[in-house]
Symmetry: C2
Subunit: 212 residues, 2 copies
């Protein structure tokens, strides 16, 4: 079932965005939408949107646009919105706590099921309805979880990563500045907030004017 390996990465990264926006349209009772309208709302060129959709076949109708409900149903299946993906969070500090309180509950198929920390002051509490366990219990509790959010101090990142991989995790959303090393069947997405901020500032200074 998986591996329609012909969807370009750039397209795949936009899919959740499309899904969320279509969901909003649906809630607003809209039944029809054009690539032009989508483009204005999510700031992606309309030709890019049509191209993205076309990888999945002909989802629209010429001269009409796209049927919101149909498209939404299609993306729901494509993005596996029906099967839930449990996620664990490691490191209940500033960032970790923010994520637990938020917990991606709006229209998502992902939910943080449990969190781990080394600090006894945090262990045993519920934060945002998620239980916080001691990091020593990682191996015994992570038996069914394949995805993790990493928000520990950078010094701990590689060591915790190794333990996560050992438990069978194969996707990590890494917020630490460490470029962690993993086996090649584990997927890591880095979100490096300090780099994002610095890069914004660099672009502001060196690429004036034109939106790109």
């Amino acid at each position: 079932m998986p591996n329609q390996h012909k969807i370009p990465q750039a397209t795949a990264k936009r899919l959740p965005l499309y899904y969320r926006f279509l969901n909003n349209l649906h809630l607003q009772g809209k039944s029809r939408v054009s690539s032009k309208e989508l483009s204005d709302a999510i700031k992606v060129d309309s030709a890019t949107i049509r191209r993205d959709f076309s990888y999945f076949g002909a989802l629209g109708k010429k001269g009409y646009g796209y049927n919101v409900e149909y498209l939404l149903g299609f993306f729901r299946k494509t993005l596996d919105q029906d099967e839930n993906t449990p996620v664990a969070l490691i490191g209940v500090g500033n960032l970790g706590t923010a994520f637990l309180n938020y917990n991606f509950t709006k229209n998502n198929n992902t939910r943080i099921e449990m969190a781990f920390d080394a600090d006894m002051g945090k262990v045993g509490h519920m934060i945002g309805n998620v239980p916080v366990y001691h990091i020593d219990e990682l191996e015994e509790r992570m038996t069914d979880i394949k995805a993790a959010i990493l928000t520990v101090p950078v010094s701990e990142a590689q060591q915790i990563t190794d333990r996560l991989v050992e438990t069978g995790v194969n996707g990590i959303l890494n917020f630490t500045p460490a470029r962690i090393t993993v086996p090649e069947d584990v997927r890591v997405h880095h979100i490096d907030l300090a780099v994002e901020l610095q890069s914004l500032v660099y672009f502001m200074k060196h690429y004036p004017l034109d939106q790109e």
Copy 2:
């Protein structure tokens, strides 16, 4: 001085990463580094690293590698590490508080100077050494700040953006799911955490095995 518009965007986004890693090497007392070593550490192909550096001229020596101190000095200038860029943060909630406590203090040229919120319970306090003002004071206090981090509820995003633009801000790091509309001389970087998590899950399921 600015607008050496020949540095590719993909390269520009990696510069802060290079800078941070070179800084670490320097602190460790290393004086020499090769593109291969850099590659192993930050997981960017060594040819890409050499290509990136080459846009700035010949910074290395054949058969030798790069001199850490020289390269670091070069990037310090390129990334304007000496002039400080003040930043404001709008919305002192879960995420906003995490950022204030962290405040990008490690080796950076960026610092959050002030924060704003609409909630009187938050106004008047210092969080992570940053004063929190009422959002009504935005216009009078933002006279010298050109960059903002946006962590308000999605419903407020566009309205606050308009006010920020009005005060002269030309760079926004937007954490809300809203794709905000700005004049074309304002740069917006979206960091959409829900999309990042969903896209990680999508990749895990549909692009098994190979690291790419």
